[in-house]
Symmetry: C2
């Protein structure tokens, strides 16, 4: 059985969406045991109507405190020992759970991952990784915001973790890895990308194909795209806001006259369907890799489907033994170097 | 009169588009004298049909060499002394021209700016700056790719140059300046943004309003947005490719059935008109600021309108004395510090 801690009080739509997503995940995968962290009274009354069969795979863990997005993450994680995030992270650390899923404060989830769940031996830093929608399907993009001021050797480790993830969870035998850069020419780049590129070129255990230009990320130019957290985050946020911006312009145009309003009737359905292919809800949340257990962070505005898929993706990650594979790889890494 | 050097052989559409753009600029602004750098025989035959009046404001300077995008920029700039880029840059350096406009190799244009035109006294590095389309109109975004591995004090200088540009050329008396960052909270950021933020906060001569989140750049969250070249370039390229990506999806949807094809007839015209508001052609090219003269780099795929506007914008920059204002500000900067 797979034990997953769910932060019931995380995100804008808690607790209802989180609990609905939990229920759907439990129904879809009967190997999942969910540990629901939050105020016991609220959770118990909400899940009272669930089927007995499903409820037999649920425990409620009373976590009275909530870390808000306004608090300083590291301080809050240290202080609020009875918060759902901290208690869930402790359960992962102590092996009672295999993964923590939360749509709560990003900073607090990252801090709890690093400070409480803790890094695997040999791992410099845990990258935040996510499957992002591209023209060629979903690709793994990391680090999306966990470790600013990265060092070259961290990026090499991110590449290795990305490779193992794509092999185990996405069934891609030999994922192509690229490093995000200003251009693809070897002489281009900053000190970090140049040094990381050299280290990656020297590795024989990865299908490293060199640089990828930023503009090619959204066109799906590699299976694993490695960047430092500052740039990775900037690119991801820009993609999201530019999509919003262009769709906003389209909506204005569609509302501008009678003929465009009629046209809107014909295209909005197919367009929404098409955009669903690029919805990240299917992919669950973003993952902190390289820890003593999986930490999955969902969007703050996560809905039922996001939570459901985050739980299912976490279960798949665990079932495939991805964490163990990463642990072994870094134990070996340690011995060799 | 304003003397502008135009690289006739730069870009994918040279020499025709460059010369057509040149002609249009000459017609629109009779204070412009254009110095056309490229193979004399080709240029002379192309401009033979131009009006006498216009031709009286044109000189042709024979530049037989061309620097290609495949060449290593700095090496090519050092070696190809008879290339249009190098000869044009030398004319600016020596005061024979006030500005160089080129759609040629980006690397070579940047290198020629730094190595030949040269920095103004007191300027650490010349940023590449461009007016980018946002929801709230065009805003100045810099550094877009000139100086990787930036130092905090460089970013402060970029902010000051941005302020002076917006005041002189865009007539914004007190432009709001923001530093691009992972988040707006003071504790967020990498070592570079944190240090630059502190330096900027200490300045009383700029309307510095703190951080701007990457996602808010395209929504026009400030008049001047300052970033290091690596991240600035990544964000700009991501905006461009994401727009292309979303419009590509829309086109697929519009082609998907008879009813969407009919809808396309109604919306493509208004949509194209709307998108023109966001066309960067109106803004000319990207500018290297802080040099002994202006260097303007147009897109490699620049068309007639881009070249025309790049020349007109350069003329405006010079007419407003923007370069002199920057020169004076940095001379004062030097004396004070």
């Amino acid at each position: 059985m797979i034990n997953i801690a769910l932060d019931v009080m995380g995100g804008d739509n808690c607790p209802q969406c989180n609990l609905k997503g939990a229920l759907e995940a439990l129904k879809s995968d009967d190997e999942i045991i969910l540990h629901l962290y939050g105020p016991e009274d609220i959770i118990s009354s909400e899940i009272a109507s669930w089927d007995k069969d499903v409820r037999s795979r649920v425990t409620v863990v009373n976590a009275q405190e909530v870390i808000t997005t306004e608090e300083s993450p590291a301080a809050a994680v240290r202080k609020k020992k009875n918060s759902s995030i901290v208690m869930g992270a402790r359960a992962v650390r102590e092996g009672r759970c295999d993964a923590l899923v939360s749509a709560g404060s990003s900073g607090a989830v990252l801090a709890a991952g690093q400070l409480i769940v803790g890094r695997l031996p040999g791992v410099h830093r845990p990258p935040l990784a996510s499957m992002i929608p591209t023209k060629k399907g979903f690709k793994l993009f990391l680090d999306l915001g966990a470790n600013v001021d990265a060092r070259p050797e961290w990026l090499v480790q991110f590449a290795l973790m990305g490779k193992l993830y794509m092999q185990r969870v996405q069934n891609i035998p030999d994922p192509e890895i690229r490093l995000m850069n200003l251009g693809v020419e070897e002489e281009k780049g900053n000190a970090l990308t140049k040094a990381a590129n050299e280290l990656l070129r020297a590795r024989s255990d990865m299908n490293y194909a060199g640089y990828i230009e930023t503009r090619d990320v959204i066109f799906g130019g590699a299976d694993v795209i490695v960047a430092d957290a500052f740039t990775g985050n900037a690119v991801l946020k820009t993609m999201e806001s530019t999509v919003e911006f262009v769709l906003g312009i389209l909506k204005e145009v569609l509302k501008s006259s009678l003929s465009t309003k009629l046209a809107a009737l014909a295209i909005m359905g197919p367009l929404k369907n098409k955009m669903k292919e690029f919805s990240s809800a299917e992919q669950g949340g973003a993952m902190l890799l390289g820890l003593n257990g999986l930490v999955m962070k969902c969007h703050g505005n996560a809905e039922e489907l996001d939570i459901k898929n985050a739980v299912l993706k976490s279960a798949r990650f665990i079932r495939e033994g991805t964490g163990d594979i990463i642990r072994e790889a870094f134990a070996a890494e340690n011995t060799v170097r």
